[in-house]
């Protein structure tokens, strides 16, 4: 796949490129939003990795221009140093497919990129039974089997769970979820969605230990993603320390 990396910070851009190339994608690097816009006139990219904070046009402005042009369908992954929930929402609402707060965790980055590219390529499977890891969804009977055992879900819970799995790793807005699962006419209190998500999470064991996480994107919505076993540097350090530490006194 062809990817574009737009970042004025060379170190970040290099890391992103190495991660993308490590995953088998080719990569063009640009240092400003204007460069991307002009390059898009004669290039097509399967993915744009865009830094929010750049001199000149910032990431959100570039994103808005992108979404208005003929290349509006290009998937965009935002990178940002801004850790605020509000900033995340701004990025998503401007049309980013996903966002990652710096510093990059390689495993997370790879997982998100794969999810975006897979989604872009995917034809919505219409098979009567769909499998996602240990879960199999039977559309006709609206039943879910987890590790071969049937899990009892209500119709709405089934629809919600299937929506999450079909949009794995994608941040889903509350309003979009409500519209997709309950229909446009629904006039529900916001607790309804939270309560259903909570039920689905409990019934399907969507917990980090079982390999899937269903987590909130604050002030925006929810995201279902694969739990990645992050090998953090501090964690490694701790392991290292532990080896040398004397056993704790009883």
């Amino acid at each position: 796949m062809r990817c574009a990396v737009v970042d004025d910070d060379r170190a970040q851009a290099e890391l992103v490129r190495s991660l993308l190339e490590g995953a088998g994608h080719s990569c063009d690097m640009m240092t400003s939003g204007r460069a991307l816009i002009s390059r898009l006139r004669h290039e097509t990219y399967d993915l744009v990795v865009l830094d929010w904070c750049m001199p000149g046009l910032d990431g959100v402005e570039v994103l808005r221009m992108l979404r208005q042009g003929p290349y509006a369908g290009t998937p965009v992954l935002m990178l940002t140093s801004r850790a605020d929930d509000g900033d995340v929402v701004t990025g998503l609402e401007a049309g980013a497919d996903d966002y990652i707060v710096k510093p990059l965790v390689p495993e997370v980055f790879r997982a998100r990129v794969e999810a975006i590219l897979r989604r872009a390529a995917m034809q919505r499977p219409s098979a009567p039974v769909v499998r996602f890891g240990p879960y199999s969804f039977d559309r006709a009977n609206e039943t879910v089997r987890f590790d071969g055992k049937e899990v009892k879900l209500t119709a709405k819970e089934f629809a919600l769970a299937l929506t999450f799995f079909e949009n794995l790793a994608r941040p889903l807005a509350r309003s979009w979820l409500l519209e997709t699962v309950w229909g446009t006419a629904a006039d529900l209190e916001s607790r309804t969605l939270d309560a259903h998500v909570s039920k689905v999470r409990a019934k399907l064991h969507l917990r980090a230990e079982t390999g899937y996480r269903l987590l909130p994107v604050y002030s925006y919505g929810y995201r279902l993603e694969r739990a990645v076993a992050v090998e953090e540097a501090p964690a490694a350090q701790t392991t290292h320390d532990r080896k040398e530490a004397p056993p704790a006194p009883a």
Binding site: E14, S81, D84, L104, P106, T238, H240, A248, P249
Partner: protein, 790 residues
């Protein structure tokens, strides 16, 4: 930080109803006035009832009746003809009384002329000097066969008997005339309006002369004759005569003309003939409603009127008492209702209209044959005005006196107890009033000075938005933009002076003006106006109400918060520096280590990465801690268990890499609280993170219990625990525990737990910690559960 300014009045209702804005008397006063009105109403009804019964102003009624009657005269019937014993007959036939032979001759003449009935209104009570005369008359009566003779009933009779009947001479009675009593008694004012109808105690009527004549004319015979002597008799005058106008009336023929055959036959044939005295000197004359001041009416003429009425049933009946009472009460009650509900001027018109209506109704009813005395109603209507005025004034006076006494007795808000002179009530009231006015003056001054000493600009307006008071700061604030006094100006104009210096000022000002006009309480969120010179004003609008919460006016306060905003801006910039500008280079360092840094020795790279991460952590923690203290959390109903699960999943990688099992105990139902999910998740994250860092190996237990209206979240580890001396300080910012002997120092700024404390405090909850050295520690917090429907 948002300024913690208290609203000037509780904004309980968002909308102050405009209808309630007009000033009414206090409820107690209204009730008192209502009692006065009820008293007057009862008095009026009783007085009207008594007056209807006793008729104290009968004379006025009579005047009105006579006038009404003159407006509605009858047309005399040609059936009735009077043969008058007039002056001319007396001149021709000599002095009265005439010999009875002459009457016998007249009766013969009338019989010969073909009279239908002969009502002979001459009393023949004593035997004639010559018995032959009586015989001749008796013969004539017998021959005619249609003669009616009068007799008298005297009440009381002689020798103490109830009555005495004076009949015609026995010889005449034997001749078989019809008999009827011919008593005519005028009313108390000497005017005769009705023939008095007599009846006996058992109700048997005693027929009157005209009834006897009427019966004969119809060819009937009366069953009842004269009553026996000494019978108790009752008289009623409730059927009044509708008189024919005077002069004119009924046809007259002179006695002497009839006697001598000069009267044309057609005047007499087939008619009812009444024979009676009209001549002056014969004394038989009465005052009647139609006879005016001077003239009187002869008895026989009066009988003709009565007879005519009886024959055509064209009479005026006096209405029964209950109907009279109703007739008098209706206008009185209508006016009373008006007095209670309408304005005095309107009531004056209503009173006059009601009076005219009563008069017109009475006159109309007379025309229809009924008499309803209107005088009682008229007098009552006229009296109600001054009476009601007096009661109201008296009440107002008493009320004011009571209120002033109470005010004087209350003692001072700004003064001590006041001395009130004892004795003359007027002097006392004047003193009280004087004191009250002085109090008001002092209070006004006090308010003005209080407002002047405020640090913020304040404008007090009435309900229509007119500025009543502007304090010194306000005057100084508006001075550069507007010349002249602020007091008395419309608020919209005053605030409008700022509009040119204000971003979006026109809209803001017109919005406030519109809210005041509609009586809407402005939204509780404060408005901020930034002037073009950089000053920032915090604008608040509050409603003033009296002690019954009825609206009185508005207070507009404009606080200069320029410095506050400046400080806030600087702090926000500092935080932005931390969140973004300091994070970026650290992220770049980590990125470098991930690419070119791989050439470095592994140990060095790891340590560099660790320091970069620590810096990031510190910045993140500090920003979160600072924000938790200032930004108002957005509270929404949420399940605390969701936040706990999020936090557990967040930390799952760390737990796994340290080989620690996290056991989560969730409650059966939802732990519904009003919370900010992001803040609470971060708080739980911090507690769990600490447990993982300091909790040693094995398990960490966490969970939520619902207990007494609280959701109680705990995190228990089995590490070294915390020394008792340190327990109290763990929630303090930048406090870090010394690592247990031999343990490595963990990274952190000592802001994790203070953040938890701040967040929990913002949710109205409390934090707790329990630990014994060597046995691990339990950290947690409790926040109130949301109401079931919340």
């Amino acid at each position: 930080m948002r300024p913690e300014l208290r609203p000037l009045a509780e904004g309980g209702g968002r909308s102050a109803p405009r209808a309630a804005v007009r000033h009414h008397a206090p409820p107690a006063a209204r009730r008192g006035l209502l009692f006065e009105w009820i008293g007057l109403l009862i008095g009026a009804v009783v007085a009207v009832a008594l007056a209807t019964w006793t008729r104290p102003i009968e004379r006025l009624d009579n005047l009105l009746y006579d006038a009404a009657l003159r407006l509605n005269p009858r047309t005399p019937s040609a059936d009735i003809q009077i043969v008058a014993i007039d002056n001319r007959s007396l001149q021709a036939l000599g002095e009265w009384p005439w010999p009875r032979r002459r009457h016998a001759e007249l009766i013969d003449r009338l019989r010969a002329a073909g009279a239908r009935v002969i009502g002979y209104d001459v009393l023949f009570l004593e035997p004639a000097a010559d018995p032959a005369d009586d015989r001749a008359l008796a013969e004539a009566i017998r021959r005619a066969g249609n003669v009616v003779l009068p007799y008298l009933v005297e009440v009381p009779g002689k020798d103490g008997r109830a009555s005495e009947v004076l009949r015609p001479v026995g010889a005449l009675v034997a001749a078989g005339p019809a008999l009827g009593h011919a008593g005519l008694r005028p009313e108390r004012d000497g005017v005769l309006r009705a023939i008095e109808r007599l009846s006996r105690a058992d109700g048997t009527p005693v027929p009157h002369f005209i009834e006897a004549v009427d019966a004969r004319a119809r060819g009937a015979r009366l069953a009842a004759g004269p009553p026996p002597d000494g019978a108790r008799l009752f008289g009623r005058r409730n059927v009044r005569i509708r008189f024919a106008p005077l002069p004119g009336g009924y046809g007259h023929a002179s006695f002497v003309d009839v006697l001598e055959g000069r009267t044309p036959r057609e005047f007499l044939a087939g008619r009812i003939i009444l024979v009676g005295a009209t001549g002056s000197g014969l004394g038989d004359r009465f005052a009647t409603p139609v006879s005016g001041d001077a003239a009187t009416m002869a008895g026989v003429e009066l009988l003709a009127n009565a007879l005519d009425g009886a024959r055509s049933d064209d009479v005026i009946r006096v209405a029964p008492l209950p109907a009279q009472l109703a007739f008098a009460l209706v206008p009185v009650l209508a006016l009373m209702a008006g007095l209670l509900l309408l304005r005095p001027r309107t009531n004056l018109w209503i009173g006059a209209g009601l009076g005219l209506l009563v008069l017109a109704a009475a006159a109309g009813l007379v025309m229809a044959g009924w008499w309803f005395p209107p005088a009682n109603a008229l007098v009552a209507l006229a009296l109600l005005f001054p009476l009601w005025g007096w009661r109201r004034l008296d009440f107002a006076n008493r009320y004011m006196a009571t209120e002033l006494e109470a005010l004087a007795g209350e003692g001072g808000f700004l003064r001590g107890e006041r001395e009130v002179p004892v004795g003359d009530p007027v002097a006392r009231q004047v003193a009280l009033m004087h004191g009250a006015i002085e109090d008001v003056r002092n209070l006004k001054r006090f308010i003005a000075e209080s407002l002047d000493s405020l640090p913020d600009a304040a404008l007090v307006t009435d309900l229509d938005g007119r500025v009543l008071i502007a304090n010194e700061v306000a005057r100084a604030l508006f001075a550069p933009y507007r010349a002249g006094d602020l007091e008395g100006q419309p608020l919209a104009a005053v605030l409008g002076a700022l509009a040119p210096a204000l971003d979006g000022g026109e809209d803001e000002v017109s919005d406030i003006a519109a809210r005041i006009r509609r009586g809407l309480l402005p939204s509780p969120e404060p408005r901020e106006w930034t002037l073009d010179d950089g000053r920032v004003l915090d604008v608040r609008l509050a409603f003033l109400s009296d002690d019954t919460r009825a609206p009185l006016g508005w207070i507009v306060r404009l606080a200069d918060i320029t410095r506050l905003r400046e400080t806030e801006r600087q702090r926000e910039e500092a935080l932005k520096l931390l969140t973004h500008d300091m994070r970026s280079p650290q992220a770049s360092i980590l990125a470098l280590l991930g690419t070119e840094g791989r050439a470095l020795p592994r140990d060095l790279a790891d340590r560099l990465a660790r320091y970069a991460r620590q810096t990031l952590d510190l910045a993140d923690q500090y920003v979160q801690f600072a924000r938790a203290g200032t930004v108002t959390p957005t509270l929404a109903p949420m399940d605390l268990a969701d936040a706990l699960v999020d936090a557990v999943d967040d930390l799952w990688p760390q737990a796994r890499s340290r080989g620690i099992r996290v056991e989560t105990a969730l409650p059966e139902g939802e732990a519904l609280v009003m919370g900010d999910r992001a803040l609470l998740t971060r708080a739980i994250h911090n507690l769990l993170g600490n447990a993982l860092k300091y909790g040693g190996r094995g398990t960490v237990e966490t969970g939520i219990r619902l207990d007494g209206g609280e959701a109680l979240l705990f995190v228990r580890d089995h590490g070294q625990g915390i020394a008792e001396a340190d327990l109290a300080r763990v929630w303090e910012p930048f406090h870090r525990l010394a690592p247990a002997e031999g343990q490595p120092a963990e990274s952190g700024a000592g802001l994790g737990l203070p953040f938890v404390k701040r967040v929990v405090a913002r949710h109205g909850g409390r934090v707790f910690v329990d630990s014994r050295p060597g046995e691990g520690a339990t950290f947690g917090f409790a926040i109130p559960l949301a109401g079931r429907d919340g």
